[in-house]
Amino acid sequence: MNNVMIVLAVMLSWGVLPVASGETYTPGRKVNKDFASFAKAFLSSHCADCHGDTEPEGSLSLHNLGPVDEVNAGTWEAVWAQVTLKEMPPKDAEQPRVVERLQFSDWIVGELTRVMRDKGGFRAHLDPNKGNFVDHGLLFGTLPAGIRLEPTSSPARIWRVTPQEHITRLNELINRESDFDPEKPGLRTHGDVVPTNHGGELKLYFGTDRIIRWEGGTVAYATAVKSVPAVLSSARNHGLENYPDFYTVNSAEATQILSKAEDILQYMAYGPLSIANPEQIADDPKTYDKVKPKGDIRGLPTAIVYSTKVVRPLTPVYHLMKHEGISDKHLRDAVDYLFEALTFRLPSNEESDTYLKIVKQSVEKLGKEDGVILGLSSIFLDRDALFRPELGENGKPDQHGRVMLQDSELGLAVNHALSYIKPDEQLRNAIVEGRMRTRADVKREVERMLADNSMRKPRLLRFFRDYFDHDLGGYICKDAKALASTGASNQGQAHYRAMFDATASSDRLIELILQEDKDVLRQLLTTDKVVATTADKVYFGKKLTREETAAAVIAAKKAAEEQVKKDAVALESLEKEVVSLEARLKGNPEAKETRKALDRKKKLLASAKKKVSAGKKRRASGNHSVAEAKLSGPKMYARVSRRSFGAGSMRPDRILATAPAGQRLGILTHPSWLVAHSDAMDNHAILRGRWIRERLLGGGIPDVPITVDAMLPDEPQNTLRERMQVTRKTYCWTCHRKMDPLGLPFEMYNHAGLYRETELNKPVDTTGEIIDSGDPTLDGKVANAIDMIETLAASKRAEQVFVRYAFRFWMGRNETLNDAPVLQEAYQAYKNTDGSMKALLVSLLTSDAFLYRTGSEPTFGEAN
């Protein structure tokens, strides 16, 4: 008898499995069990039949799987994922009781955490992509007996600022952004995030608001202007990108911050004079022309002329450097100002003194000019300028050991929930005056801020970017030939520019829906509105079939021929008139009226010739493979980068149009989302399906086993659906059934996001299926993406999953079962207000999970 059989026999002889029915399970608490008496028994009961020592399923034998160790950690992680996601035991096998499964899952996490602590650690359960590993039914349904929840809280922590937050914070020091204009609500204004530039790079620009002239084209401009890229790093992946424990600041980043701080301080003190010669600062560029360097200066800083109007904020740093000598008052003002501008809180006396001392020491060594700049730059590296603390150091623990955040920590947490810039006057006063200490205080401020349209809330948009991932399209590198085949332009950077524009357009559409604040998720998923640029006529257009394209070419040719004839007639007529007038003038050179008429006709002729020539060019470059969408509607604006590329910078102008009927439905059918979920050559049905599975259905996908060669065959003669047949192998299909049938309905669009009815000259197959969604009423076949979206957008489950994602984003961590009351309350708040995002946010931001911290919480490993 093998070991498994022995254990099983012993257990059967006891008559019960190790988890006693009267036992209580508390999520997050230590699982007081060991391998021999618990885990091994679980494996024997639920896994050994299929994963024994002979011909095990999936070639995975758990027969000899011993206690968790470094070598078998990968296997245990796979077991954890399968059991936690209820993939195993198989549906037709006897299932462990709920508590037993939870304990087994926790036990594995605890053991992996303990064993791997000094071997790179085990953090999979903390990864946002594993957030759905917590059972949705348990979070939103009734808990079975035996589960006892504890009042929730989040761990005390420091939260590193993101590159976007950091750049936006630094931008406040040197650039003055426009105030919110209610007449033009989409324009980028003060408080909005500094957007990525024309190429998708995040940069801080110096003095572009004063540039009145430059030499050369777009690249010359981009090279000549002073800009520094984001120094802090972050991964650009799909999904939630900023949990507090993701990032630190390495020494390279720190030294670069120090160096950039000096540039920023110089600009704060001297403005464009810190990056240009005095003669370049002139309201009339001609004055500079007289003295500018000779020769070709395109691409050089000396090619720029700045206006004399001071637009940067004039801060105590400016006043300090403007006045001769150094007074303690000026110095301290500068220190305190910078400290607050960079950390968003007032310095303590000790902190103020410390930095004052550093500056004085530097001045002593280097003199005022260099010493002040170097000394003040140290404040840019203060812990709280790079990490936001939520330590709960000043509160008293309640009976559960939780401390409620208060004062600046609470105020800054609330501020950070919505904003990238420092607290506004009212919140600042509330912090300073001791009015940020209670749940009611938080509710008051959150409701006030949410009601204030002029206060920009970039964190809200960030959430939707993390949720939808619609901001990644411009970073998907396209094969030029494959791109051309979609009907989109493959000329230069046109497609990438269009995608960065599309990101801004989708952002704006999201804002419009948030403004209505009704049925927010459903609206996002089903709106027929499109915020569009001119290029979107193609991207929202329809890719013609081969026959339609051929017909369009013939029609265009015919139209061109007719136009050529018309043009010829018109030109001939004009030319005749000119000749006639010239003859008349020859006969009577003094006839002023004739001369005038001749001049007019000549101008008309020249203009007509130009038009004819332009028409020829336009016709020659016409795109006959696309039926452009007829997009029209009121003008509006989208938030885009400002003057990063001279005349080629992104433009904010947009229209609010209606998408072609029957072809689009909501953001998931917009090119920004579709391209973000595509690859160089084709659609990415798996990624799209995964998005639906995880973010609308709340399902979890285990990691791809390392033994799997996750490649589709290279068969250009076959459709993506046909190539994806390889995922139907039993071994792959277990996971792929959760994704592929949800992603393939989007085959109604090609990989640039254009609507299509054929693929490889055959009618495109857009069918799919919702399988095992967790809500049987949703399951079933779907005709295409629109059909599927209509089904899902109306579902309670999708709304609840949306609430889970919002929880993760704003709490900065995955939910646990202890968070079930918070999630249920947030969902109810959303539901009771007909889908109000504001109500959802108020609920989340006044929840225990947001307000309370537990210090140095024991990790699973320590607990075990």
């Binding site: 420091i158 790079e201 600041v249 390495n250 030294t255 020491q361 000394g375 140290s378 812990r383």
Partner: protein
Amino acid sequence: MLNRRNMLHGMAAGVGATFGASLFPERIMASPVNNTNPRRIIFFMQNQGFDPATCVPKGMTSSGSLAKARLPEPIEALEPYKERLHIINGLHGMHTSPSHSAFFGALGGYRGSDGVPPSAPTIDYELSKVLPQTLLPHLCIGMDSIENMTTKPTIATLSASGAGQPIFMHSNPNHLYQMLYGGISTGDIRLQHEARSNVLNQIEKLAAANGRSLPTTDRQRYGQYVQGFKDVNGLRDRLDTVSDHLRKFAPAVDERYTKPEFETDWHDVLLDLGISALTSGITNTLTIGSGRGQIFGAWKGLGVEDQGHNLGHMKQPDNPIWIKIRQYNSRMLVRIMESLESVPEGSGTMMDHTLIVYTSNNADKQHTNGANWPVMLLGNFNGTFKTGCFTQLDGKRPINALFATLLRVAGQNIDRFNMNDQLARKFDTGTGPLKEVLA
């Protein structure tokens, strides 16, 4: 994953010449003579393209020895060194969008363009991770017009440690000198060094004090922040302790640093600093961006009055301007080789264990589709590369294949560099290293 090795390279990533391994002080002491398997690599990236007609000897259309060939005028300075030269024609970079520079894509082997952030690490950074560890794993220097170098003394356009993680290159020699040799400097540089040291020491103290009350779960993460300053400050201290060694290699500061007549004065001293970082053993990976990865740049000191974009619009073959620039590059390459040759290492010299990769971030010309990307290799990297020859490839393997070859030779067992199988089907007919260039 957070670990020490990653951390050190994280540091290199951000600064270009960042403070490296505090835990390897022996390297700097031992590097010139004791290391049994030392290797180093230099990337020299000239902007505006590298026309094959300016490097391939006339009449050479197929692979063969350079022994009897005469090198073209632009690179004639390399004639005495052609037994260690390998000219490669026929790699491609069509997937990198190199027109007007591929920027990060030139060393990354992926799509790049103005304003496009890096999408993966570049080859120089990857090599710096696998080559023998030094104090500064990776140093990047950039040469440009004097205005650009003054206004923007550090920029990042060519090297990256990962997606969205650019590595900055240094263009102000005074700053770079202070960073490398502040401890042995005098005068203003010394004062700057001392003041900066004081600030960094104070920041370290503050950072450490602010970490004491953190929860255990955050201590490791925040600890790296504090450790970063400890490393920066520790390195400075150690550089001070080996100041006698550094003095042998540190260039003398002269008026070219403080009062440059032309930008080429700064180009020259930046190169001196780069070479000294190699010869002193401070680093083993040097990236030189002549034109800083962009489509501008100036060489007035060579008598080239034109500057910037127009240089790229000119045809390079037989063009007096481009002959001057390429000759200047070639002289720089000779300086690197002679300097490395003058330092004994093992049974030979440093140059025996070095490879110089000379090419352009712009393929063969400014407006190009990247169908041809000429490269010159100098040195044999411990005898692993063929030398003294010209290799004509068929244009079907990408620059990534060369980069994969470099990584293979450096000890990484990889078949492709930054190119997945899907892209490879379109852009690479082969797999693994470029056999044609290996000895």
